[in-house]
Amino acid sequence: MPTHPSPSPHHTRATQALLEGLGLTGARGGRTLFEEFGFRLGPGELLQIEGPNGCGKTTLLRILCLLALPEAGEVRWNGMPAEEVRPDYLAQLAFLGHSPGIKADLTPRENLRVAAALGTSPTHGINGVEEALARLGLEAQGDTPVGELSAGQGRRAALARLSVQGARLWILDEPLTALDREAKQRVEALLEGHCGSGGMAILSTHQSMELRDTAVTRIQLGATVRAGEA
């Protein structure tokens, strides 16, 4: 019997859940990684996906970003299947995977300008670029190519891309890996700010995070699928 994840007691604010995963089943190379995975996420909430390596965290996040197709189940946005409202959903989505998603030969400012043009609908101005650079402490490095920056600064440039896209839903794959203490706090502050202003976030991580006033739901992924019963 596939294990049902048991989210911590859902906090009181019964807001209309914006993002839902219903009966999601993920597979990689023919092997089922997880089955019947479901969740609901409302504004201001943060969902933390934990689980052993190779249990399908990345596959799940890519399914939520509509980058990968689930074997079964459905992602819903505002009650509608995400695939049907794909442009609206993607306009509200920002994803940070293992790879940064920015060009090493371009400067942070150029990268962010492209990300802004790509990610947002025209309403959200380009002026967010300077704001994002400031928030990540990259004002000084604004014009040096990302390739010449340190790894930590490169990571911050990738994080800056998230905030410049003005998306309500952030999906982060292992955002805390290889970060020193100071950078980790900066990410936590960023997440607090995002969720505090009504944003939502889903992230997979191994380390624990100290988030004071954000409703964190932790879900264990890794249904014990007996070999065979797909």
């Binding site: 990968a68 994803f95 998603g101 920015i102 030969d105 609908s121």
Partner: protein
């Protein structure tokens, strides 16, 4: 929508200029391949002149195929290709911008240098304008159709050779009509028919190739 198109086009052109070293590769390849033929066939002017259209077009086609590999390679590795798919704007349009930038960086130089190479192989003078016209109409089609093959093989480690096997058969119509047009012009005949067909192939490629490329990228990244 247009802003996103312009952003991708501008970004890729800036990137191409920043890696100017790589920009020259298809160009040098084109020149080298063309110079191989007189070395192989002897410098006799008449023999070269007769097969000049074929030499020029086969060399241009191979140079274009060689350059295709780089279209998505770096974007795939640093996650930018993923970000393209995550944009609310239609992926086919963004990929069209990428192919346009790629063509400007690799296809256009081939056209600009073709008159010089026409001298190498003693192409009759009256065929030169037709050569440039066929390259102008043909190389964008090669880039557009080639982009489908690149999208299908972007996830594979050794995609290069497989890419050529996938796209070269699809390049045959362009090669036939382009080389045929230049051949006609060299022989003093009218080259209008094949050139119109090349234009038709380009229109077909511009409309059908980007959606196919978008579907292929989604599958490769899936």
């Amino acid at each position: 929508m247009v802003r996103a198109f312009a952003a991708i086009l501008g970004r890729d052109l800036v990137l191409a200029l920043r890696r100017r070293g790589e920009l020259g590769n298809p160009l040098v390849f084109f020149v080298v391949v063309v110079t191989l033929f007189p070395l192989a066939l002897g410098p006799a002017q008449e023999t070269l002149a007769r097969i000049a259209p074929g030499i020029l077009w086969v060399a241009a086609l191979l140079a274009a195929t060689l350059a295709m590999e780089a279209l998505f390679r770096s974007d795939f590795e640093d996650g930018s290709l993923e970000q393209l798919l995550l944009s609310p704007h239609p992926p086919a349009l963004l990929l069209l911008a990428k192919v346009a930038a790629h063509w400007l960086a690799t296809g256009l130089p081939l056209i600009l240098i073709s008159p010089l190479l026409a001298l190498f192989v003693n192409l009759p003078g009256q065929a030169l304008p037709v050569l440039v016209a066929t390259l102008a109409l043909g190389t964008p089609t090669l880039s557009l159709v080639g982009a489908i093959g690149v999208a299908l093989t972007v996830g594979l480690r050794r995609g290069g050779l497989l890419l050529a096997l996938l796209v070269l058969p699809l390049y045959v119509p362009v090669l036939i009509f382009a080389a045929g047009a230049v051949d006609n012009a060299a022989a003093g005949l009218s080259a209008a028919g094949p050139i119109y067909f090349l234009a038709a192939l380009l229109v077909l490629a511009v409309t059908l190739a980007p959606p196919a490329t978008a579907a292929s990228v989604r599958i490769s990244l899936g």
